[in-house]
């Protein structure tokens, strides 16, 4: 296992903070009506996308979920273009057709967030099939929640990837809530990773701690890249906010929300970097200011970006 440099560690911290600040801003602009539709935030879960995607190249593939801002930013999407897409502007990577829930960026191997729970898992499996076929050394990472592991597509895809030894890592972000229902109502196991045993692939569960996830992901991605087959990696985290922005969470005990917010992967990582003297209060303040400025300027970029013309409605359907 490689130990990341100070510069890299600070970079990971900055990226996690960026995801958090982007989403806090999104909640604000969503509330004031600038973004229509639905958005889903991953606040409290930022460590996973950053830790996992830190091992990927731009050529590697990634498929994710409706709660996908963190994954896209961690895979390297340009924040301005990301924001333009969420604002439905024509200069977004999907020309404003995807919005938050279906965001894709082919230039970075981002195969698309998915509005269908479990919908991205077979797609990611197919990307891995193509990578194996073309022998291009690319790895595919597929993010999904624990709710998706109750879908047939999860089981079918893990089995397919297993029997074909595909270069893929299945990353389950277990935030303990499948929409409005806690995990315990939907499954008798606590560790989703146990499901890997049925497909004879490694199943690993780690807590929502950056370094632990980083190490586990490195191992799984290396295994995939070496042609040794898939891994199911589960990160046991918490969901700070509702299923969607605006969800009053009446179904959820206040104590559960309070407990979730007690666990903050960014604060934990910040404390670690302070302890290691990679950061100090001054550098943290500077990073925070830079991040906030970047987020504000992305929102401004999106606001000023052109909306699609009605004449574009029928475009892009056919090759």
């Amino acid at each position: 296992m490689t130990k990341p440099s100070k510069k890299k560690m600070v970079g990971f911290y900055t990226l996690m903070l960026k995801i958090r600040k982007v989403e806090e801003k999104l909640m604000e602009v969503f509330a004031n009506g600038e973004i229509p539709g639905f958005i889903h935030v991953c606040i409290g879960q930022e460590a996973t996308p950053v830790a996992v995607c830190s091992h990927l190249t731009d050529e590697d593939y990634m498929a994710n979920t409706h709660r996908g801002h963190g994954h896209a930013l961690a895979k390297g999407i340009d924040m301005n273009l990301f924001m333009a897409e969420l604002f439905g502007r024509r200069n977004g990577p999907c020309r404003g057709r995807s919005g938050s829930m279906h965001l894709a960026d082919a230039s970075l191997g981002i195969l698309g967030a998915n509005g269908i729970v479990g919908g991205g898992i077979p797609i990611a499996t197919g990307a891995a099939l193509a990578a194996k076929y073309f022998k291009n050394n690319r790895v595919t990472v597929c993010f999904f929640g624990e709710g998706a592991t109750d879908e047939g597509t999860f089981h079918e895809s893990l089995n397919l990837a297993s029997v074909m030894d595909l270069p893929i890592v299945f990353v389950c972000e277990n935030n303990q809530w499948a929409e409005f229902t806690p995990q315990s109502v939907h499954m008798k196991i606590q560790r989703v990773s146990e499901r890997a045993a049925a497909y004879d692939i490694p199943g690993v569960s780690v807590p929502n701690d950056f370094n632990t996830i980083h190490k586990a992901a490195e191992k799984a991605i290396q295994r995939a890249r070496e042609g040794a087959g898939p891994t199911l990696l589960e990160v046991q985290s918490t969901r700070w906010h509702g299923h969607f922005v605006g969800d009053a969470q009446k179904y959820r005990p206040t104590e559960d929300i309070d407990a979730a917010m007690q666990s903050d992967c960014i604060a934990d990582f910040e404390a670690l970097l302070l302890e290691q003297k990679y950061l100090n209060s001054r550098s943290i303040k500077k990073i925070q200011e830079q991040v906030l400025q970047e987020v504000d300027s992305a929102v401004e970029f999106a606001r000023e970006s052109p909306r699609p013309e009605t004449s574009e409605l029928m475009e892009d359907l056919w090759a």
Binding site: P93, A106, I123, G126, L129, Y133, E156, D316
Partner: protein, 325 residues
């Protein structure tokens, strides 16, 4: 010219296109060593190997979505769904993913995917192995749907489908798999979207699909004895469909019958009839008649009573002629 069977045409199309383009792969259940449940992939595993002839577990939802990801990343998958009825278990992959990935991602990804699937009754296979569900897919923007009725069309349309950069659903009729027919020796490709006049005629246009083309030709022979001259058009492509060819024929015969094996209710006959009524109503000398299966599942024991046939077409033709405005 040489003689081939319908299923042989399918096999030849896959083989030739796999030889032509090494990005073409075949994905499905029993497509490897067994050569496919109906023999469509016979010999392909030996010729192309297991990397390209991918025999999957019984996981239609899994491998349909897998085809989407593979297509996004450079492969050109042909997916076999053993019976069209099984399309129901992979509808998410087809409808929410494959059909939409190009549009919703602003043309960043293309979906050069062929989904081949045998449909239709006639084998006493019962309610869950006999349906014709083409209208479901024709209703989805982003999907093309073709239904070959003959061995040369099976080959030619499948080759076009494989070369198409869009998803194409090739609905075969399994009762036609053993049908023989002549095919040219040279390369044989039928463009998607072109109907074919199978029998020219002056009195009534019969637009038919798949097996109903043959029933329509039977009806035409029978009605010829009564001096009724049918023009039988094989629609071949369901979406897009050849509106120009149908309009041209209706403009000559002024009578229209649409015949398909799927249930009549909400079928493609409704789309064609509605379009003709909307756009060239004044060319019609009588109401349009539709022929389709009754609105029940395909029964095991009463299949022949269920399946629409030449007599239903004869009756529909007579009805429309009797109802001249």
């Amino acid at each position: 010219m040489r003689e081939i069977r319908y299923i042989g045409g399918i096999n030849e199309a896959i083989r030739e296109e796999m030889e032509r383009d090494d990005r073409v792969v075949l994905i499905g259940e029993d497509v490897g060593r067994p050569g496919g449940s109906f023999g469509a992939s016979r010999g392909l595993l030996d010729q192309f190997g297991a990397d390209r002839v991918i025999d999957t577990p019984i996981s239609e939802a899994g491998f349909m979505g897998m085809a989407a990801g593979a297509a996004a990343c450079g492969l050109r998958p042909i997916v076999e769904i053993m019976f069209m009825d099984f399309m129901t278990v992979c509808m998410d992959g087809i409808v929410n993913q494959i059909a939409k990935m190009r549009y919703m991602f602003g043309s960043q990804y293309s979906m050069p995917i062929v989904i081949r699937t045998p449909a239709g009754g006639g084998l006493n296979a019962g309610p869950q192995h006999s349906q014709c569900l083409e209208a479901w897919f024709a209703h989805i923007p982003g999907l093309k749907v073709v239904m070959p009725s003959s061995p040369p069309d099976a080959k030619g349309l499948l080759k076009s489908a494989i070369r198409d950069d869009n998803p194409v659903i090739v609905v075969e009729n399994k009762a036609l798999h053993a049908l023989g027919g002549e095919i040219p020796e040279e390369e044989h490709v039928i463009p998607i979207g072109q109907a074919e006049i199978k029998k020219p005629g002056n009195d009534v246009t019969v637009v038919a699909t798949s097996r109903m083309v043959h029933e329509s030709l039977k009806a035409a022979r029978q009605l010829a004895d009564e001096n009724i001259d049918l023009e039988v058009i094989d629609l071949r492509s369901i979406s897009p469909w050849d509106k120009a060819a149908i309009f041209d024929s209706v403009t000559r015969t002024h009578h229209l019958v649409v015949a398909h094996e799927a249930v009549k209710n909400f079928g493609i006959g409704a789309e064609i009839a509605a379009t003709v009524a909307e756009e060239i109503m004044d060319e019609l000398d009588a109401p349009i008649a539709r022929v389709g299966a009754p609105f029940v599942p395909v029964p095991f024991s009463l299949e022949q009573a269920y399946l629409p046939n030449a007599q239903d077409i004869v009756a529909a033709v007579k009805t429309t002629l009797e109802r001249n405005f």
